[in-house]
């Protein structure tokens, strides 16, 4: 490290800047990771409150609390806030904290750009939130923003679109930064095929991000010019076609759902071996399966459009291509199970959430397969069945794994141990209530209840009430997580945590070789021993 640049030396001498300004100007990967994670947690509660409005309105048939327009704004904003404000930023936060420490790098490759991505995200989300207070209300077209409906949005339309642009740029910058970090900053000896799975999955996710976010930006720009400059991309009167929007959107949208699930896979593959006290089963097949899923995600988009009137050849192609995804996904589920097989398992909170993820994500995968069957999807499409499908793949999968990640790494980040009893309570309340919340939605969908409606026929009343009760319990249980995070930051159980925190974790990944909490700057000299237990 003779050729250290002066600018870097500065940092090294000072440590973090003093006061609040530290958080505004920081370029330190740990600080930015913390910012992302806390912001995501806040947005999780904002988006969650919107879900509570939805479930309150659906508690009984008839109109109870909100008008239909606002109800539809809630479904739209709930999805946008959760996807772009909570789940994606939470994983970017984990990437910031963990990737440099896992590959033995001193920081992210592009620290200033890192700061910019975070603040663009904040600006984007604030702009989006501001649409709630505009004339005509927030967008109410569903998160897919389909024309012509979305073009009927009031004053909010251009603001919503600009906010999508900002969020897109923020994600693209993160993606570029992560790729550059992983390609150029690895410690000597950290070959690609020795990288922890979390790093692998983020590398692939970052490529997805830079490939799809520009396409989404293009699609919403077309909406904007259609509305204000009569370009008629999607306007039949001018020779356009609204179905075209759906194709462009889902070319983005399907890989987008994998942006939320691939890092989830990565964290699960990191946690399960530690608590099973075994190496990950089939490391290289995990890498290839992840790459295969990412590739396939680009060629299956029209399974969201089986009912638009595609020719039979198209229906068949998208049906079989979609079913193909089940193969690499099955490989992963098999490998997680095989990792646990005959392991010396213990069931601390992170492991509980991870096991629930394996089981419940698989449920979501199964309903996905059902909907991949084109003729059957005519029944499921746009009903509560699909709502149940993607909530199983997102809540007890992505969100549970984010919780698991929180419990797993909080002791590392803060140097304090969380309260295991409250963690277990949080888990059991969550896992029961999430099923009470979403499982009945399968029945509602099969019986024909459409999604995105504020009122429904009385035949759907019972399951909706049960689902709402599950929703309220789930929502309230998450306050326990908030409590634990704050409590752990403040000192937790007071128990001293070791560098390793979890038994033998240092054999799996480099971050456990650092003290807990790690110093502000780590791996300014690269590590010499690369752990290989995870392979």
């Amino acid at each position: 490290m003779s050729a250290v640049v002066a600018e870097h030396d500065d940092h090294h001498d000072h440590g973090p800047a003093k006061g609040l300004l530290r958080w505004v100007i920081t370029t330190n990967h740990k600080d930015i990771g913390t910012l992302y994670l806390l912001f995501a947690l806040a947005m999780f509660f904002v988006g969650g409150s919107m879900a509570m409005v939805i479930r309150a309105e659906l508690f009984e048939p008839g109109m109870q609390f909100v008008n239909p327009q606002f109800f539809n704004s809630m479904t739209t904003m709930h999805a946008l806030v959760m996807v772009f404000g909570a789940v994606m930023p939470a994983f970017v936060g984990l990437a910031n904290w963990m990737i440099p420490m896992m590959i033995g790098a001193p920081d992210m490759a592009l620290p200033r750009m890192n700061n910019m991505s975070f603040w663009l995200l904040v600006a984007g989300v604030l702009l989006l939130a501001s649409t709630l207070f505009m004339e005509g209300g927030a967008p109410a077209s569903g998160w897919t923003l389909y024309p012509p409906l979305v073009l009927q949005t009031g004053k909010a339309l251009p603001f919503a679109i600009f906010s999508v642009h900002l969020l897109g740029i923020s994600s693209i910058l993160s993606g570029i930064n992560i790729i550059a970090t992983i390609f150029n900053m690895r410690a000597p000896g950290m070959t690609l095929m020795k990288m922890p799975m979390f790093v692998w999955t983020w590398l692939i996710t970052a490529f997805l991000l830079i490939a799809i976010m520009p396409v989404f930006a293009g699609a919403v720009t077309m909406l904007l010019t259609d509305k204000f400059f009569h370009t008629s991309f999607f306007d039949a009167a001018g020779g356009g076609d609204p179905v075209l929007y759906q194709h462009i959107f889902w070319f983005f949208g399907h890989p987008e759902v994998y942006v939320m699930i691939l890092p989830t896979f990565g964290v699960a593959s990191t946690i399960i071996p530690v608590f099973a006290r075994k190496p990950l089963f089939g490391y290289s097949s995990m890498v290839y399966a992840t790459a295969a899923i990412a590739f396939l995600s680009f060629i299956v988009w029209a399974h969201h459009m089986f009912t638009v009137g595609m020719p039979i050849a198209g229906e068949l192609y998208f049906m079989y291509a979609t079913m193909l995804i089940a193969i690499p996904t099955g490989v992963k589920v098999f490998n997680w199970t095989a990792t646990m097989w005959k392991g010396s398992m213990t069931f601390e909170t992170p492991m509980l959430f991870s096991i629930a993820f394996v089981v419940l994500f698989t449920m979501g995968g199964f309903t996905g397969l059902m909907m991949a069957v084109a003729p059957a999807d005519f029944q499921y499409h746009d009903t509560y069945f699909i709502v149940a499908h993607f909530h199983y793949t997102l809540v007890p999968a992505s969100v549970f794994i984010l919780m698991a990640a929180g419990y797993f790494w909080l002791p590392k980040w803060t140097g304090h141990m969380y309260d295991e009893r409250i963690g277990q309570l949080h888990f059991w309340l969550s896992v029961v209530s999430v099923n009470v919340l979403f499982f009945p939605q399968h029945f509602l969908g099969l019986a024909g209840m459409p999604r995105r409606i504020p009122d429904y026929a009385v035949q759907f009343a019972d399951w909706n009430m049960i689902s709402s009760i599950g929703g309220f319990v789930f929502g309230a249980s998450q306050l326990l997580f908030l409590y634990i995070v704050i409590d752990t930051i403040k000192g937790g159980t007071g128990e001293k945590v070791t560098a390793e925190v979890w038994e033998d974790a240092a054999k799996h990944s480099l971050e456990w070789t650092l003290p807990s909490p790690p110093p502000y700057h780590t791996f300014t000299t690269p590590p010499t021993v690369i752990p290989t237990e995870h392979i």
Binding site: A109, A180, F183, I212, P214, V215
Partner: protein, 180 residues
């Protein structure tokens, strides 16, 4: 961070920015791609937007296909719009003319455009129009009503399983957007 890593980063960033720009362009490239695909294959019930030359086919007197006509107005279009007949039985290969009536209900000049759609989508390529009011924008004087013909033929090569074709038109009010 040493200089060689900085250079490697800069180079990689340039490549990745290029990918990003390329993908933004790709989004737009999907537009013509989609149109070409739809026109070539007739997906989506999209029909040729201009008249085809009248060629004569061997008329298949043994087959009868029902052609139904549907008319619709886009939400806010202040017009009357109907077809003179609701359906007609046709022999593949023979030419037919059907009249449509459209009327401007406002006191101002109106420019309107009828957008056709054929279902099932797969028959679009066999349904040929030699004359149609839908090929261009129509200008109506205040309160003007007009009868407009559509002349069409069903190509006798149309697969046997098709017995009914629906031709639907939607009129859109383009007065504000059309450049005069």
């Amino acid at each position: 961070m040493n200089e060689s890593v900085k250079q490697k980063n800069a180079k990689l960033v340039r490549i990745l920015v290029f990918v990003v720009l390329g993908m933004f362009g790709f989004g737009y490239a999907l537009v013509p791609l989609y149109d070409v695909l739809c026109e070539v294959t007739g997906l989506n019930g999209k029909v040729e937007p201009s008249a085809v030359k009248e060629v004569s086919y061997v008329v298949d007197k043994n087959r009868e296909i029902t052609v139904e006509f549907m008319t619709a107005l886009n939400e806010a279009t202040p017009m009357v719009f109907r077809s003179e007949i609701k359906k007609i039985k046709v022999h593949p290969g023979e030419y037919y003319t059907v009249n449509f009536y459209a009327e401007n209900k406002t006191d101002k000049v109106m420019v309107a455009r009828a957008i056709p759609s054929i279902s099932p989508g797969a028959v679009a390529e066999f349904f040929k129009k030699t004359e149609c009011f839908c090929f261009s924008e129509q200008t109506f004087k205040a309160r003007e009503g007009r009868t407009m013909p559509v002349r069409f033929v069903v190509n006798p090569e149309i697969p046997k399983e098709y017995k009914t074709i629906t031709l639907a038109y939607t009129f859109f009010d383009n007065t504000e957007t059309s450049v005069k």
